[in-house]
């Protein structure tokens, strides 16, 4: 996973408005989310209905994109894959963000030993790339979306925490926090009602960026055969399923799934970086 958010590039952009790229990204994400939610109603055919006599046949009648290597309707599989792929990535981003915010706020609040201990643990975690952690998790818990998703979430926690901890520390040092503390407000109430809401813009931006990373990494793990298991439709699985067809000159299954992943990830990452730039700007 590449961790550098390119704020050197994004910071200079104008603040107001989304621009053409922004609106395009928003539209791509909206379509993908819509497909994930209502796809089962819209899709023309059963994504798991295989007929080998149609293997790798191109566009044919109402089968707009034709068939995959096992004679299943490609468009229906792409639509079914949207749900699996987006749900998986959302799960990873959610777990990483919740755990990361919690650790960030707690370490920023208490400081001292708690902070040092957490920093040491996270440092060791930095030594495990997400993909490696997911492969090891598959060896322990068996392959599947759950083990891959949990491993990735754990691998992302240090990255999320690092960004949020800085913001939480700054917030902790504000005079209003000291003022509320003096008035006898409990730490719980202060953290939940004041500290967290004040860094929420950054949390949402981080969540969006992590969602993009998670989509790529989960697809890679499914591609390796350790995530979502074939025959369930998933964009990563479809790239891997389509590889034998690709080598025989039928690239549509692999390539269409790859295009879906690239389009959604680019859109999500673009929006996430814009959100982050905006959150950082307003904190300055």
């Amino acid at each position: 996973m590449s961790v550098l958010t390119l704020d050197i590039v994004t910071r200079r952009r104008r603040r107001s408005g989304l621009g053409v790229l922004g609106w395009t990204s928003l539209a791509v994400v909206a379509v993908a989310v819509l497909l994930a939610i209502v796809g089962p109603v819209l899709r023309p055919f059963d994504p798991n209905l295989a007929d080998l006599s149609f293997a790798n046949v191109g566009a044919y009648g109402s089968h707009v994109l034709g068939f995959d290597g096992q004679g299943r309707d490609l468009l229906s599989r792409l639509m079914a894959g949207a749900r699996t792929t987006l749900t998986g990535a959302a799960f990873v981003a959610l777990v990483a963000i919740v755990a990361g915010s919690l650790i960030a706020v707690v370490t920023a609040w208490f400081g001292g030993v708690v902070d040092a201990f957490a920093a040491a643990v996270l440092d060791v975690l930095f030594a495990f790339p997400g993909i490696l952690l997911a492969v090891v998790a598959a060896a322990i818990l068996g392959p599947g979306l759950l083990s891959a998703g949990l491993a990735l979430a754990v691998a992302y926690i240090p990255y999320v925490t690092r960004v949020l901890r800085g913001a939480a520390l700054k917030e902790r040092a504000m005079t209003y926090v000291a003022a509320l503390e003096v008035q006898g407000f409990s730490a719980w109430r202060l953290c939940l009602r004041h500290l967290l809401p004040n860094i929420s813009a950054l949390i949402i931006a981080q969540g969006t960026i992590m969602f993009g990373f998670a989509m790529v990494d989960l697809a890679a793990i499914s591609f390796l055969g350790l995530g979502v298991q074939s025959p369930q439709a998933d964009w990563g699985v479809m790239i891997s399923d389509g590889k034998s067809g690709l080598l025989q000159g039928y690239p549509l299954e692999s390539l269409s799934a790859a295009v879906c992943i690239v389009a959604v990830v680019s859109a999500v990452t673009f929006l996430g970086e814009r959100l982050e730039a905006r959150a950082k700007e307003s904190r300055r």
């Binding site: 490696l132 090891v136 591609f223 350790l226 590889k243 690709l246 690239p251 390539l255």
Partner: protein, 315 residues
């Protein structure tokens, strides 16, 4: 410098110690006996089971086994793969060359293409700069597995220029086989390095000391080389180091895609077969490579900017 190196090495050893414990412990608690791969889940007669357990030290307490594993790992022995009856170090030795070659070739591509394009974009105007930006935006969004299928289809299947699968024999042939995987692995990183280089060089070119050098009448190429690039080298080194370190784990994806007989692809196979000793061994080697690369980046950083040495970078 010595103190910095000593501190950094101590940190490395500590990280590896904890990481090795985590790797060994996590797979130790995994459900299912390591013997089941051998017996295919059939029940064994108690004597045979006891004999096998003694042979693979399965009957000893956890900490004793971890200690044995760690000490022999330090001597280069990573134990025995139970299903394959082979020494893990031998299995790793047969494959480490492919992975090292792949990561090395990819790094060369990243440095040459990334830094080169970045400088081109920063110093060029209009069309050149926009071309660089467009190319880096497209390739930044291309994950390694997607780049792999695209390259496989276009270059190998359609054009037939390079082989689509396999490792190859001999140096020249291996290089031919590694070229497409390396390009697929490099795609995202080249974009990242290009963008950081472009931004860093552009920032330096606008600084006062560069304008002073220009007004002193120094030739532009030497201003770029001696005044711009030397100062821009720090952020560039950082991003190059981070991306190269991230290649180590990602190589598994590309190796699987191109059917390369490397460590990463083998790790994935071993995970599917629950070959615990192999998963432990390769994970340890990959984590070590990852941590070592990060340490080299920190050292390069200190060499490039001596001001940073004494305090040390926040770890």
């Amino acid at each position: 410098m010595t103190r910095f190196l000593a501190r950094r090495t101590a940190m490395l050893v500590a990280t590896m110690l904890v990481a090795s414990f985590a790797i060994y412990g996590a797979l130790y608690v995994s459900p299912g006996s390591p013997l089941s791969a051998l017996t295919g889940n059939r029940p064994l007669p108690p004597e045979a089971k006891a004999q096998l357990e003694a042979r693979y030290h399965l009957n000893e307490p956890f900490l004793v086994r971890y200690w044995h594993w760690l000490v022999s790992a330090l001597h280069g022995d990573l134990g025995e793969s139970i299903p394959l009856h082979e020494n893990v170090s031998t299995l790793i030795g047969q494959r480490v060359g492919v992975t090292a070659g792949l990561v090395l070739l990819t790094s060369v591509i990243i440095v040459i293409a990334g830094v080169g394009l970045g400088i081109l974009g920063a110093l060029g105007k209009g069309l050149v700069d926009n071309g660089v930006l467009l190319a880096s935006t497209v390739s930044a969004a291309l994950p390694s597995f997607a780049a792999a299928v695209v390259l496989q289809f276009v270059v190998a299947v359609k054009l037939g220029w390079l082989p689509a699968l396999g490792t190859g024999h001999g140096f020249a042939d291996s290089l031919r086989h590694l070229l497409l995987p390396a390009l697929a692995l490099a795609a995202t990183s080249v974009a990242l390095v290009t963008r950081v280089t472009r931004a860093a060089v552009r920032e330096e070119t606008g600084r006062e000391h560069v304008q002073t050098a220009v007004s002193r009448g120094l030739p532009w190429p030497s201003v770029v080389r001696r005044h711009v690039l030397r100062n821009a080298a720090i952020p560039i080194t950082t991003v190059v180091g981070i991306t190269i370190a991230s290649l180590i784990a990602l190589s598994a994806v590309v190796e699987t895609a191109f059917g390369l007989n490397g460590l990463g692809a083998y790790l994935v196979q071993a995970a599917q077969n629950k070959d615990v000793a192999v998963v432990q061994g390769i994970s340890l080697v990959l984590v070590l490579a990852f941590v070592l690369t990060n340490m080299l980046v920190d050292i390069a950083y200190a060499v490039l900017d001596p001001r940073l040495t004494l305090g040390g970078r926040a770890a």
